[in-house]
């Protein structure tokens, strides 16, 4: 009987995957190697091969080879599908049991075999008519669900597990309540909420003012607001905190100036009289964190509100003006109410980001404890109280998830849509003249402050000892960059570059794939991906960090200390960028383009490659770029996972801050910012509006 093309590729596919599985069983380590794959000796490698030490060594290859006759038999699609699906599930289950019961860790070969099983499973569900029998999309869905289960759900569940058992492994259902009602925790929660809400209010108000100014003012100053787009992207989150220390810290410039005038022996203080000013660490605590977070988060709320503001149809304001409403009345009665969802969105975003922020509280917190730093300190150093970290993690997770779900439910999908500055037709109503004057002054002050902050970061790297000895020097940069590639700043810098370079394209591709599956496909299991995405968006970095430490420190999946776990963390942490980029790009591509391709006999893989990918090209580039930047600047999750060998730039800087080497830290920070700036400008130059973008 003649075998059709589709049938043949089905058979070849199953054959190929099964053979890959068998080969990797034979040559790749079944168990994890103690010191990683590349540092193992031949003997160690030999010992981890499954067929050597495994009690039922022939079962695995025989099981895998079993798939081939099923794929090649002339049975009905239904029977074939059911057999493939159930065999793959049984095999996965057996594998899991085989590792969990003796508590051994999976090796690379087992990982490959899991992928093989996932592929065979996809062939099975495609046979059963899942997703209209599309093997490629079935495979993609299986892989995405697999990733979400292992790297999102499993770690989060681990937090809940860790809080429910004691150190000895006994079941302790009330441990969570004991911890959260214990001394001090209430204060930490209150601190976090107080800070988050104040920061939310402040960033929303400031964001609104700046947005009004940049969209509606007539002054040329508004063009300078562009820095709002770039600076927060390229600045690691804690660097603002560091620069605040330079300005307002104990040895900061402000203290110096005040001492110079009002301190003992100061210019305005008569000889012999006590100074009316003493150096103080007023910046540490609530004030400092608040200021740092407002400075670094206002741009985010600004972008949300600008997007909303430009989306308002100018005709509505024009209508108000024709009905004799003054500019003030129009602003108050028309513009602001229309902005309300945007303002609410900006506020919630501010609250979430503040609660999730880790770097600034770490650098500036002082006595003011918040959840994210408290989590870190419960397992950093000698304490190692996993149950406490887990309980605090749950609190932070619940807080952030609640706000995220409120935002998603009441404010629609707005947070998914990237904010673009598209101007609609019609004339926008300018600001009332007086308001504009006040705002101009305010914006000037703000920009000046930001300018001073950044200048101080760059200068800080070139002076001997900030606050004490302002002699210009290259010593910090020399220490970092001229002591060979294996010491100073180079190892962490190279790690950051390499890990981010691997993570970024994977993030972009996975993000677009998830966005595609979520928006264009309907199937059983859709909810799993949807909820997984919500978690990816909502879980704060600190929580990801402890969750990963708890989940991947022991069998069956032991990854801590490896570079792989850092790359995976970077991918998951940057995933929102990828998904958002994919969603907004796909929303601009009519589904009928894909349908037209399908009707021309093209399968979904060909459609993706020939129709979607060319149209998504610029999105892929910019998603990759921003994922790269995010991975380079991320702190909160990686700080838990980076080890001596896998230190990255941000964790290295923080460790220098903690040991008091502010000069070195600032020097490194400025190099990181410059690198990111150069990279951003390069990407923007490359992704200038292409022909395709114009057409969409």
């Amino acid at each position: 009987m003649q075998v059709s093309f589709g049938e043949r590729s089905f058979r070849v596919g199953i054959f190929t995957w099964a053979v890959i599985g068998v080969i990797s069983y034979w040559i790749l380590p079944w168990f994890a190697l103690e010191y990683g794959l590349f540092d193992a000796t031949m003997d160690e490698y030999w010992d981890t091969l499954g067929w050597k030490s495994h009690p039922v060594s022939m079962l695995t290859p025989v099981f895998l080879l079993l798939f081939i006759p099923i794929g090649w038999a002339n049975w009905s699609r239904e029977i074939q599908g059911r057999l493939l699906v159930s065999l793959a599930l049984v095999a996965t289950l057996l594998l899991a049991v085989d590792f969990i019961i003796p508590g051994r860790s999976m090796g690379l070969g087992t990982g490959v075999i899991l992928i093989v099983l996932a592929a065979l499973f996809s062939y099975g569900i495609a046979r059963l008519g899942f997703l209209q029998g599309d093997i490629f999309i079935s495979g993609a869905v299986t892989v995405v669900i697999f990733i979400i289960l292992v790297f999102v759900f499993y770690p989060v569940l681990q937090i809940f597990y860790k809080v429910a058992v004691t150190k000895e492994g006994d079941f302790a259902p009330f441990q969570f309540f004991n911890i959260i009602t214990s001394f001090g925790i209430g204060r930490v929660v209150l601190n976090t909420l107080l800070l988050a809400i104040s920061v939310g209010v402040a960033t929303t108000l400031l964001g609104l003012l700046f947005a009004l100014y940049s969209v509606r003012a007539t002054s040329p100053l508004r063009h300078l607001m562009r820095v709002f787009y770039i600076l927060p992207i390229i600045t690691p989150p804690f660097v603002v905190g560091m620069s605040l220390i330079l300005l307002f810290g104990r040895a900061g410039i402000l203290n110096d100036v005040l001492m110079y005038f009002f301190g003992s022996g100061g210019l305005f203080i008569p000889e012999g009289v006590e100074g009316i000013f003493e150096r103080s660490g007023y910046i540490y605590g609530f004030r400092g964190i608040f200021l740092a977070q407002v400075l670094s988060l206002t741009p985010v709320s600004y972008m949300v509100i600008v997007g909303m503001l430009t989306a308002i149809n100018p005709a509505m304001e024009e209508a108000s003006l024709t009905m004799r409403g003054s500019r003030w009345i129009t602003l108050k009665k028309v513009t602001l109410p229309l902005l309300a969802p945007g303002l609410a969105n900006a506020f919630l975003l501010g609250v979430i980001s503040s609660a999730a922020d880790f770097g600034n509280p770490l650098v500036l917190g002082g006595e003011y404890d918040v959840l994210s730093t408290e989590i870190y300190f419960s397992i950093a150093g000698a304490q190692l109280d996993f149950a406490k970290a887990a309980a605090l993690g749950i609190l932070l997770l619940v807080l952030s998830l609640t706000i995220f779900l409120i935002q998603k439910k009441y404010l629609g999908k707005k947070s998914f849509v990237t904010v673009t500055g598209v101007q609609t037709a019609g004339n926008v109503t300018p600001l009332p003249a007086r308001l504009q004057r006040y705002l101009s002054v305010f914006v000037c002050c703000w920009l000046l402050l930001i300018g001073i902050l950044y200048v101080s970061i760059f200068l800080g790297g070139f002076v001997k000892q900030w606050g004490a000895d302002y002699t210009l020097t290259f010593m910090h940069h020399k220490e970092l960059w001229t002591n060979g590639f294996s010491s100073g700043g180079w190892p962490s810098f190279m790690n950051s570059l390499i890990f981010s370079f691997i993570a970024a394209p994977l993030t972009a591709i996975l993000g677009i794939l998830i966005a595609y599956i979520l928006t264009r496909k309907r199937f059983v299991g859709h909810g799993v991906i949807d909820f997984g995405t919500v978690l990816i968006f909502a879980v704060p970095g600190t929580v990801t960090g402890i969750a990963y430490i708890m989940a991947f420190n022991t069998a069956p999946i032991e990854l801590t200390g490896t570079a792989i776990i850092l790359v995976i963390t970077m991918i998951i942490r940057a995933m929102p960028v990828g998904i958002r980029g994919g969603m907004s790009a796909l929303s601009q591509i009519s589904p009928s383009l894909e349908e037209a391709s399908l009707l021309q006999r093209a399968g979904s893989f060909k459609t993706l490659r020939s129709v979607l990918l060319p149209l998504l090209r610029s999105t892929i580039i910019s998603s990759t770029a921003y994922s790269f930047i995010r991975s380079m600047t991320t702190v909160s999750a990686v700080i838990f996972l980076a080890s001596a060998g896998t230190n990255v730039a941000t964790t290295y800087i923080l460790s220098r801050v903690e040991s008091g080497d502010n000069g070195v830290a600032v020097a490194y920070g400025s190099v990181l910012i410059l690198t990111m700036l150069a990279f951003t400008l390069l990407v923007q130059a490359v992704t200038g509006r292409s022909r395709i973008e114009k057409q969409m």
Partner: protein, 359 residues
């Protein structure tokens, strides 16, 4: 390239539900081999959904779809062998005309020469020779539409589907484009299904029209059939303009008669299937002549409520005992001012008696 292998498309007991919304419920419908059938109906009536069910882009909730002697219900869009012209044309913006039209052939891994020849042949049939290297954004709306048609034709599909293909084209051009589509379909003889909400387009382009309402078929028939013998008030109103009024049918020895308000109309030899009693009539605006004089017993009397001059004709709304009637009169005739008493003359044969069970 006329083919004698045209196939009939049959939908058997087909349903499509989106959640709890039953867009299409247990529908049976046949599209005759080699004909162009239009699905006509207001927006939301399920016509586009029906088209997408035939294309395979939308899996049915229940029922079967047959292409000729083959059950294609389980086939995906890729396997079904249909060509489709989308409302938005769905031309690939990053490919030129040649690549767009030849896309399906590259999928089938044809040789370059073969693709080039096939593309130029099909572009010729849509009068677009020489446009191979243009990109979609360099073409006018009409040209884009023809590229979309060429792309749908190039694989010589068993079935051609048109999803409101002319809705984005201005009205002047639309007339010639629909003639082109009609000509092309007749030349190729591919069984075609055409979705539109424009009744004039439907009447002019199709062999058969299926009027749909609320996911159900109101009536299927030739354009002439539908216009002259609508079997429901909905069809009468949707195809052309119509005044649907209540009347009473009386049966007498010498033949039936209709009582329309004060007026009594003898049907003479005309056969009527309705039972005597209350009936509904459809009165086409163009069947009336307005006269100052008349017999109240034979003609409907009324008063001009208002009138509007619309160029070729004058539109009148006339208050009569059976309700307000809409009619038109040539501008050359005498114009009647509002308030004037007029008689509506008409020929009894032109009365459309709607079947009982519906409307």
């Amino acid at each position: 390239m006329s083919r004698n292998t045209s196939i009939q498309v049959t939908l058997k007991n087909i349903s499509k539900h989106f959640g709890s919304v039953r867009v299409i419920d247990n529908l049976d419908i046949e599209f005759k081999a080699g004909t162009l059938t239009t699905l006509l109906g207001p927006s939301g009536c399920g016509k586009t959904t029906l088209l997408r069910l035939v294309s395979g882009l939308e899996p049915p909730t229940g029922g079967e779809i047959w292409f000729g002697e083959q059950d294609v219900s389980q086939f995906s869009a890729t396997q079904r062998d249909v060509g489709m012209v989308f409302q938005s044309y769905a031309l690939f913006p990053h490919m030129n005309v040649e690549k767009n039209v030849g896309y399906g052939l590259t999928v089938l891994k044809e040789t370059k020469e073969k693709i080039r020849d096939a593309v130029s042949r099909v572009l010729e049939t849509v009068n677009l020779e020489g446009f191979q290297k243009r990109y979609p954004d360099e073409l006018s709306g009409g040209q884009q539409q023809r590229v979309a048609v060429a792309r749908a034709l190039v694989l010589e599909p068993k079935v051609l589907l048109f999803d409101e293909p002319l809705s984005n084209i201005d009205s002047k051009l639309r007339r010639s484009m629909r003639d082109d589509i009609r000509g092309l379909q007749q030349k190729t003889g591919i069984t075609s299904i055409y979705v539109t909400h424009d009744q004039a387009e439907a009447l002019s382009v199709s062999d058969e029209v299926v009027v749909m309402n609320d996911g159900a078929i109101e009536q299927q028939g030739t354009p002439r059939d539908l216009y002259q013998r609508p079997n429901s008030a909905f069809v009468a109103n949707f195809i052309g303009d119509s005044n649907v009024v209540d009347a009473i049918l009386v049966a007498e020895e010498e033949g039936s008669a209709i009582v329309l308000g004060e007026t009594r109309i003898d049907l003479e030899k005309r056969k009527v299937e309705n039972r005597p009693g209350k009936i509904k009539l459809s009165l086409r605006p163009e069947m009336f002549q307005l006269r100052e004089t008349g017999d109240e017993k034979k003609h409907v009397m009324g008063t001009i409520a208002h009138s509007a001059y619309v160029g070729a004709v004058v539109e009148y709304f006339i208050s009569t005992p059976v309700g307000e009637l809409f009619t038109t009169a040539p501008v050359s005739e005498e114009q009647y001012a509002p308030g004037r008493k007029v008689f509506l003359h008409f020929h009894p044969d032109e009365l459309i008696i709607l079947p009982e069970t519906r409307g």
